[in-house]
């Protein structure tokens, strides 16, 4: 069975600063990795996903993530955040059928 650990429950940053949200996973089989974002009063929406190929994956809103198999990590990064990036971010791992999520990281961008 797979599992996901998001190492930071809350990340406060100032506007235009870079940010990294950390995610580690464990699985006994090959997996696919996802980052979802939840804005206030909305459902989760997909930011980006890693299926295969290049380990650097680019998503919407300027986010990117890097798959590191040896460290079993899939950290999310953005070089310069905006106020509108304030939301909760969830890392997820999927095998052939089911998807499992981490506990989420609440990103707060301050002016």
């Amino acid at each position: 069975a797979q599992s996901v650990t998001q190492l930071d429950s809350q990340v406060p940053v100032f506007e235009e600063a870079p940010v990294e949200l950390r995610c580690n996973y464990s699985s006994s089989v090959s997996v696919y990795l996802f980052w979802y974002v939840q804005y206030p009063n909305q459902g989760l929406q997909l930011l980006l996903k890693y299926l295969s190929g290049s380990t650097l994956v680019k998503g919407i809103n300027g986010f990117e993530a890097e798959f590191n198999k040896s460290q079993t990590s899939f950290h999310l990064r953005k070089p310069s955040v905006h106020i509108s990036d304030t939301a909760e971010y969830f890392c997820a791992v999927s095998d052939q059928s089911d998807m499992r999520f981490g506990a989420g990281t609440r990103l707060t961008v301050k002016p």
């Binding site: 996901v4 459902g43 989760l44 996903k49 059928s97 998807m99 999520f101």
Partner: protein
């Protein structure tokens, strides 16, 4: 095209009462999932339907929870009788295929508060 819709958005009930949550997946999506998030914790898998069949219900907490998907369209999740620890946000998601590469599309969630 309509997304995944959930009803009600918020339900407040007393311990011992019954609540039924409904999920309408995206039309044509055979795979439907229920998840629950208790405050501050992970989004925990409850169960997975493929059409009307339960593919995996390993995450269902106990027999007070009953999920159905009659006709392979919408799904209901009934909690009877509700306990305090059932409070949380229940998310429904759907996916077109059953391969792990596909994106899950989520509803906005049903927040359940048990007093």
């Amino acid at each position: 095209e309509a997304g995944v819709t959930q009803f009600p958005s918020h339900s407040v009930i007393e311990k011992g009462q019954t609540v039924t949550l409904r999920c309408d997946p995206i039309s044509g999506h055979d795979n439907l999932y229920w998840y629950r998030r208790v405050m501050g914790k992970e989004i925990k898998f409850l169960l997975h339907f493929v059409k009307e069949s339960k593919q995996d219900e390993s995450g269902m907490p106990n027999n007070r929870f009953l999920a159905e998907r009659t006709g392979g369209t919408y799904s209901t999740l009934k909690v009877q009788p509700a306990e305090l620890e059932d409070s949380g946000v229940y998310f429904c998601a759907s996916r077109l295929g059953d391969r792990g590469t596909g994106e899950l599309f989520f509803g906005e969630g049903s927040r359940l508060t048990v007093l």
